[in-house]
């Protein structure tokens, strides 16, 4: 039962990644692309991580996975910020 | 005494670190760091000559799991050449770089180059050989661009990229060997390797990679610019030693590891390329307008001779006849090593005094730099192959091997190559001994002239008289597949 739940979570996470990638390819300008990518990926990764933690079952592993998720969140937020800032600065010039 | 084999590697490495930490003392550390390994090498050679091949299983692990260092006749001869040449060149360089801004870094890299050479000649493990090859390539590249000119940087970069391609090709051969035979230890491989697709493909890949590094025609094009544009002491070791390292590996692979796998056809291909290199390189040397460029083209030609031995060696059955031919090859390589380093050092002296090395404007050299002119003449004797030089004996043995194996076709190549070598040497000497003011007046014998003339004397006299020692050492083999 838990396995099934975990699989559903992992696959829905992958679906988020997929749509994030489509957004990256199809959306018209940089900011909306960034928006689609970071939102979808962060959520997708979160779902995958919860699923994997359920599959694995040990609390220590779950803690490590959570740490990974937080780091990725921090990294992607900062890089998205930097990219958009750079784009803004270039537009002003 | 057990650890004797590590000292030729450990001493230059240790002194390199010291030179990096105390840059202001680097001149002294550099010369001492070149001299100490020479002592170690002499000890090793004495041991090998007295009691046969040596082996050191590093870390105490059985070779196979661990890495073994091995010294036998062939490696000892190469070690002796590299230790003696580097010693002489180091004394020269201590004058040449006495006031150079980057001499601290020069000495560190110089000692690392010696480390790499000695590690390569002693290594008994295929992957370790890859690491030493890379180390040798990188140190050579950095030393070659120390001059800082645009040409030298460009040549060094091209040398680096090609060297990487060569060592990767070598590495994929090593991967196939590991896939097929499950070990990297060369002694075990010497027993295990049998003729078959794995051995053929691996051998051709490894040889291909090494041929790039040893600059066999048509893969020679990187050599002349790289060697001609480096600072003189660096050119000397690049031409005399670094290209020889790849050649040494080819010999090891062909004669000892893959003995019985090598086919006559493959050897003939390499021999033909060598023959083309002899003629083309000598011709280009004759056309060259700059002294160092001429020396570099002459290196391409002389390497060609060494590869022309391959079909002869492959045609001979294992035994005394083949050892005679192999001894001749090694003797020729040694003579060229000493003679060419002497030649490059002399060229460096002329360049420092005259400010250029255009052959046509060298008139008056013999009067103002008599010792250097004498060095060039002596080195020339060895490069042409006149008696009493070592190369004369080597070529003589080569000719008699031609008759034994019936491979007459190579005869005209040797004749043409020797004539062309005579032509370019005498053309140079003609300019150098002509009257003129091309080189400024200076009659004093500089400290830097002595090592050059000593190297030339080794090539012409010592190797000629002691050639029998070479023939005695070569059959002492650490690898079961070939040799003794």
């Amino acid at each position: 039962m838990i396995d099934l739940l975990a699989l559903i979570l992992v696959f829905s996470g992958i679906a988020f990644f997929f749509f994030g990638a489509i957004g990256l390819l199809r959306l018209p300008d940089l900011h909306s692309r960034l928006h689609a990518l970071t939102k979808a990926d962060n959520l997708g990764l979160g779902l995958v991580i919860v699923g994997v933690a359920l599959l694995h079952g040990s609390p220590l592993a779950a803690l490590k996975l959570l740490l990974i998720w937080l780091l990725v969140l921090l990294g992607s937020a900062a890089s998205a910020h930097l990219i958009s800032q750079y784009a803004l600065r270039r537009r002003r010039q | 005494m057990n650890n004797l084999l590590i000292w030729p590697v450990a001493l230059p490495l240790l002194t390199a670190l010291l030179a990096l930490l105390w840059p202001r003392r680097s001149n002294w550390i550099g010369v001492a760091g070149t001299g100490l390994p020479l002592l170690a090498v002499l000890l090793v050679s004495w041991q090998v000559a007295a009691s046969g091949p040596l082996e050191l299983a590093l870390g105490g692990w059985a070779p196979g799991l661990g890495i073994a260092l091995r010294a036998d006749g062939l490696s000892v001869l190469m070690l002796l050449m590299s230790a003696l040449v580097t010693m002489a060149v180091a004394v020269y360089a201590s004058v040449y770089f006495a006031h150079a801004e980057r001499r601290g870094e020069f000495w560190v890299l110089w000692l690392l180059l010696i480390t790499a050479l000695h590690a390569l000649f002693l290594s008994g493990d295929l992957f370790n050989l890859y690491v030493t090859l890379e180390l040798l390539g990188l140190t050579a590249v950095v030393l070659a661009c120390l001059g800082g000119s645009r040409e030298s940087l460009q040549a060094a970069l091209r040398y680096l990229v090609l060297g990487l391609l060569g060592s990767l090709t070598f590495l994929i051969g090593v991967a196939l060997i590991y896939a097929g035979y499950g070990t990297l230890d060369m002694a075990a491989l010497g027993d295990a390797i049998v003729a078959g697709p794995t051995a053929w493909v691996a051998l051709s890949l490894m040889t291909g990679g090494l041929l790039i590094k040893s600059a066999l025609f048509p893969l020679h094009f990187w050599l002349p610019p790289a060697h001609a544009n480096a600072p003189a002491p660096v050119s000397a070791v690049l031409s005399a030693l670094v290209v020889k390292a790849a050649l040494y590996l080819i010999l090891r692979l062909w004669l000892e590891l893959f003995d019985g796998v090598v086919t006559q056809a493959a050897a003939v291909i390499v021999g033909v390329l060598g023959a083309i290199a002899v003629v083309w390189g000598s011709w280009a040397a004759l056309q060259a307008e700059r002294l160092k460029l001429m020396a570099a083209y002459s290196t391409v030609a002389q390497l060609g001779y060494l590869f022309m031995f391959m079909p002869l060696l492959a045609a001979l059955p294992e035994g005394a006849g083949r050892e005679l031919a192999l001894g001749a090859l090694v003797l020729l390589a040694l003579t060229h090593g000493f003679a060419k380093s002497a030649f490059f050092l002399a060229a460096g002296i002329i360049m420092q005094r005259a400010g250029h090395d255009r052959i046509a404007e060298l008139g008056g050299t013999a009067r103002s730099l008599p010792v250097t002119a004498f060095t060039i003449a002596l080195a020339g004797v060895a490069l042409i192959g006149l008696p009493p030089s070592g190369s004369f004996l080597a070529k003589w043995q080569m000719l008699s091997t031609l008759f034994v194996t019936g491979q007459w076709v190579w005869l005209p190549v040797i004749a043409v190559g020797t004539l062309l070598a005579g032509a370019y040497i005498f053309r140079l000497l003609g300019h150098a001994f002509a009257p003129g003011e091309g080189v400024g007046p200076s009659l004093s014998v500089g400290r830097e002239e002595i090592p050059a003339v000593l190297l030339a004397l080794i090539a012409t006299l010592l190797l000629g008289f002691w050639a029998s020692a070479v023939w005695e050492l070569v059959p002492i083999s650490a690898y079961a597949g070939g040799g003794a």
Partner: protein
């Protein structure tokens, strides 16, 4: 059969993606695109390593292969922008020749691999290496190979790193630094750098019995330096002057001294006494981590810092101080 092909499916996809990415990276005429694709290729390769049960390599590939190589290539693009790109023409004939040659060689190599895979169940050195593990002082087999069985390779490899860095230092001066970063990036750096340092220490420590080790730790530490430099700290956290020289030398020096030191009571070069081997390996690895990190950061800075004095500078300093 069905289940077999199903388990093969991820491998097929991975292999196809590897080749596709490599092809795209190499055939792209836009350099920036090529470099970015190459980084993606490296990350994919890290997944392949994990898939082939090589977690040490997966870590190293992500940190060194994709991460640091990628960073080096990306800053190199910045230099490239000024220069003129000369796209040389390759004649159609030689293109065909090269293609043919590559095809033949790939087939030959593949053929040999196919032969060796089916020849016999390959034992190679696996059994031996794993059975000697208890005598090696560590329980991570890769670390045992790197720092005990084949420690000599690793020693020479550190020398290769030193040589390359000396080359970088000799060739030219370092690149200009970056402007001071904005608040968001600075905030990130304040968190990230300590975290990276802790991670490096963890990787170093854990390398004895689990995936990790000096190279992964050194690369992580170097990443901390690179992040610092990107945030406007031009020295990238490196020491200056003599201390920099010492940190470059430390790894090789300690390795060599330990190797020679164990010969004093009769051992062979690098033959650690069994009771000590675990601690000796850790000491060597710690020094090596520092040296690797210093070397990689210097390589990223791209030349010699102003604090790297030549012999002539030392002489002048002495005259000035008199």
């Amino acid at each position: 059969m069905m289940s077999q092909s199903l388990t093969m499916l991820p491998d097929l996809v991975l292999a196809a993606m590897l080749i596709g990415l490599a092809w795209a990276a190499l055939s792209s005429d836009d350099l920036r695109r090529g470099v970015v694709l190459f980084i993606a290729f490296g990350l994919l390769l890290a997944i392949v390593w994990a898939r082939l049960h090589a977690p040490d390599l997966a870590l190293a590939e992500a940190a060194i292969g994709a991460g640091l190589s990628g960073a080096l290539l990306l800053v190199a693009l910045r230099d490239e922008a000024g220069g003129k790109e000369t796209a040389g023409r390759v004649s159609q004939v030689s293109r065909w020749m090269v293609d043919l040659f590559a095809l033949i060689m790939a087939c030959l190599i593949g053929w040999v691999l196919w032969l060796t895979m089916y020849a016999e169940p390959a034992e190679r050195l696996a059994q031996l290496a794993n059975s000697m593990l208890e005598h090696s002082g560590v329980s991570n087999p890769v670390t045992a190979v790197l720092l005990n069985y084949r420690a000599y390779d690793t020693l020479l490899e550190l020398v290769v790193v030193l040589t390359a860095v000396l080359g970088v230092l000799v060739v030219g001066r370092e690149r200009r630094g970056y402007r001071q970063a904005g608040p968001v990036f600075c905030g990130l750096v304040h968190w990230l750098v300590p975290l990276l340092i802790v991670t490096a220490g963890y990787l170093l420590w854990v390398g004895a019995h689990a995936p990790g080790g000096a190279f992964q730790a050194g690369a992580t530490l170097a990443a901390a330096g690179i992040v610092l430099r990107l945030a406007g700290n031009d020295a990238a956290g490196l020491l200056d002057g003599m201390l920099l020289r010492w940190s470059l030398v430390a790894g090789i020096g300690l390795f060599l001294l330990v190797g020679l030191g164990v010969t004093i009571n009769g051992g062979l070069f690098l033959q650690y006494p069994e009771a000590w081997s675990g601690s000796l390996i850790l000491v060597i690895e710690s020094a090596a981590t520092a040296s690797i990190a210093a070397a990689l950061v210097l390589a990223y800075r791209g030349g010699r810092p102003d604090g790297w004095l030549s012999v002539a500078d030392y002489d002048n300093n002495r005259e000035v101080s008199r």
